[in-house]
């Protein structure tokens, strides 16, 4: 097990290093920081001086090491468009994105798993077929259209819910949260549903497929033969094993949620990192793009690691030492 964890850590390290390298290349070859800092009428001497001051005349590995060192301290320089520190910009936007993603993940799990179990147990009934058809639509509809349709229905036609921004927020030690105000919750509903639809449909279909698979296995037949009530068979025995792959997919989808949040945030003008990133892409704001890339990669790597470790906690078969060379 220790060897496994060490190998995963090494892999994570390599991934982070390559992402950092891509971010570094962005800085190196996209745009000229000296030109953008000095303006057009700088003398060649000034340019050379600034190059030396910024360390741009040093050899490539030294510059890369410096970049990684700065990145580790969260220093990605100044945003080209807003002239503020990138780290401050991102710190400001991070809570909004995380709260939105967490809310969407909770919706997807709390609604998706029971519906998936239901669709598997009541296979062939009208209700379960409705659930499957709707979930097919949920997987194939683009996120931004779902958001627009929800706005049209609930904000424009019925006027029940707001469709713009985060509403009132409370700041707790620099972390702005919308969870503590009624207005914040109201603003959260539509974006969170929009973001959760795809994951919800995915989890529903996955749980259903896994559950059907598990219900065919021998140990379920034995459980029935022992005379256990349906309830105990379904929820005590079958569901537990169904959830193993669900954990993996959910974990991996948590990263996807943060990426999909870009779209949701654009539709609802939600002031999160995604909106910041899309503006950075539009204006070719390299420092913001690089910082976002590194942060998202870090979140991905951490989530993947946690998922791998959870596997050990959930599935005892993996804890048995395997012969060397096996995966």
């Amino acid at each position: 097990m220790l060897a496994f964890i060490l190998r995963r850590l090494a892999q994570a390290f390599v991934v982070m290093l390559s992402v950092a390298f891509i971010a570094f290349m962005l800085f190196q070859y996209v745009g000229d920081p000296v030109a953008s800092m000095l303006g057009q009428d700088a003398t060649p001497e000034q340019r050379v001086a600034l190059r030396a001051e910024l360390g741009l005349d040093k050899p490539f590995p030294v510059q890369f090491a410096r970049f990684v060192g700065n990145a580790l301290q969260g220093d990605f320089g100044l945003s080209l468009r807003q002239g503020r520190k990138v780290s401050a910009l991102i710190a400001e936007r991070l809570p909004a994105t995380l709260e939105l993603s967490i809310a969407a993940a909770v919706i997807a799990l709390v609604v998706g798993i029971p519906l998936g179990v239901f669709a598997a147990l009541k296979r062939g009934t009208f209700a379960s077929q409705v659930a499957m058809t709707v979930s097919l639509l949920g997987v194939s509809l683009p996120t931004f259209l779902i958001g627009i349709l929800l706005i049209l229905l609930f904000a424009v036609t019925l006027k029940w819910l707001p469709s713009f921004g985060r509403g009132d927020t409370v700041s707790i030690g620099g972390w702005t949260t919308g969870f503590l105000t009624v207005d914040g919750w109201k603003h959260l509903i539509l974006p969170a549903i929009t973001l959760s639809v795809f994951q919800l449909a995915l989890i529903l279909r996955l749980v259903r497929a896994e559950m059907l698979e598990v219900l065919r296995t021998d140990y379920i037949k034995f459980a029935r033969a022992r005379g256990l009530p349906n309830r105990a068979v379904y929820f005590g025995h079958a569901l537990k094993n169904t959830l193993v792959p669900v954990i993996t997919i959910t974990g991996l989808q948590l990263g996807a949620l943060i990426a999909f949040a870009i779209i949701t945030e654009t539709v609802f003008q939600w002031p999160g990192m995604g909106l910041l990133f899309i503006q950075a892409v539009q204006f070719a704001d390299v420092p913001v793009m690089a910082a976002y890339l590194c942060l998202v990669a870090l979140i991905f790597v951490i989530v993947n690691l946690i998922v791998d470790l959870l596997y050990f906690a959930v599935d005892p078969r993996l804890r048995i030492e395997k012969p060397a060379g096996g995966h």
């Binding site: 991934v15 194939s140 683009p142 627009i148 349709l149 049209l152 990426a259 899309i278 892409v281 890339l293």
Partner: protein, 310 residues
């Protein structure tokens, strides 16, 4: 490349001979999906002749006709069946022209990722060793990030490198951004089938009589691994069209002078609150229609080509 083109009709003829065609005829879902997809493609390709107006002809567009509702709503006009947008362009015509751009970008991206993916997959499966390991590691890293994020990043870099990009260049950057996220699946699929085919007797026989490896790869192995690739490509077209629409909706897709369906939805989104829902909803409906029908076709094709399900 020539070998692929010259080989394709033979392979295609075999596909649609017998079983597959029979399965198509007996599946109402597939027929309906094919008809809808064909209608969408027809309207898109022949937009010049089918569309009632030319939305890009500034002389024909009349600003006093702007924001007209669809014909059946109060205040609507017969001339503009689905209403007009803020600049007085006919929505129906804009959708047809927009679908053409969406389809073009979608199909072009699929073709590029197919060529890249199939090529790298063949190489990976055929060469093995370090080349294989390197290509597969790159695939792993690509797969661990959502494709949208990768496409956005490539698009952003493209914008940064060519800040005053010409329109055609913007199209190129977009197509490359979408196709660079899509090739991985082709590469993995083709590599898998190549590993199987590589040890077949016909390949060994070709080797024994001294056929060059590159010739074995393209002339003998390639035609035999193309089946799953075609299924993948069908489903991928829908995904590529949706990715294009998403990027255009986010404002980093096709140039605004040639609006795709995603751009139209983005434009309409600004008018949602003043009650002009048709500017957004109709392009959105067209997008769903295309994506859903192509997806259903792909699903059917997968089942039809899978001998285990027959």
């Amino acid at each position: 490349m020539n070998t692929i083109v010259s080989k394709a009709p033979g392979a295609l003829a075999r596909f649609f001979d017998g079983d597959v065609w029979h399965s198509f005829k007996s599946s109402p879902m597939a027929i309906a999906a094919a008809l809808i997809a064909a209608a969408c493609v027809f309207c898109a390709v022949f937009a010049n002749w089918v569309a009632p107006h030319n939305p890009f002809d500034l002389a024909a567009v009349n600003l006093s006709d702007s924001r007209l509702p669809p014909a059946w709503e109060e205040g609507g006009s017969r001339t503009y069946l689905l209403g007009t947008d803020d600049q007085g362009r006919d929505i129906l015509s804009a959708i047809m022209y927009g679908a053409r751009i969406s389809l073009f970008v979608g199909v072009a991206s699929v073709l590029v990722s197919m060529v890249v993916g199939v090529g790298l997959g063949l190489l990976s499966g055929f060469a093995g060793g370090k080349v294989d390991a390197l290509i597969m590691r790159v695939c792993d890293v690509m797969l661990s990030f959502p494709s949208l994020l990768v496409a956005l990043l490539i698009d952003g870099v493209g914008r940064a490198i060519f800040p005053n990009a010409h329109d055609t260049l913007a199209f190129g950057v977009l197509i490359i951004a979408i196709s660079l996220t899509g090739w991985v699946q082709y590469a993995r699929t083709v590599r898998g089938s190549t590993l199987v085919e590589r040890n077949r007797e016909y390949v060994q026989a070709a080797r024994v009589i001294g056929v060059k490896p590159s010739r074995i790869m393209f002339k003998h192995v390639l035609p035999n691994v193309m089946g799953p690739v075609l299924v993948l490509a069908t489903i991928h077209v829908a995904a590529a069209i949706l990715t294009e629409a998403t990027l255009s909706f986010l404002g980093v897709g096709v140039p605004p002078t040639s609006p795709s369906l995603g751009t139209l939805i983005r434009i309409g989104n600004d008018f949602l609150f003043s009650g002009e829902w048709w500017i957004t909803i109709f392009p959105g409906a067209m997008l769903i229609l295309i994506a859903l029908s192509v997806n259903l076709l792909g699903d059917w094709l997968r089942d039809a080509l899978n001998p285990r399900l027959r």
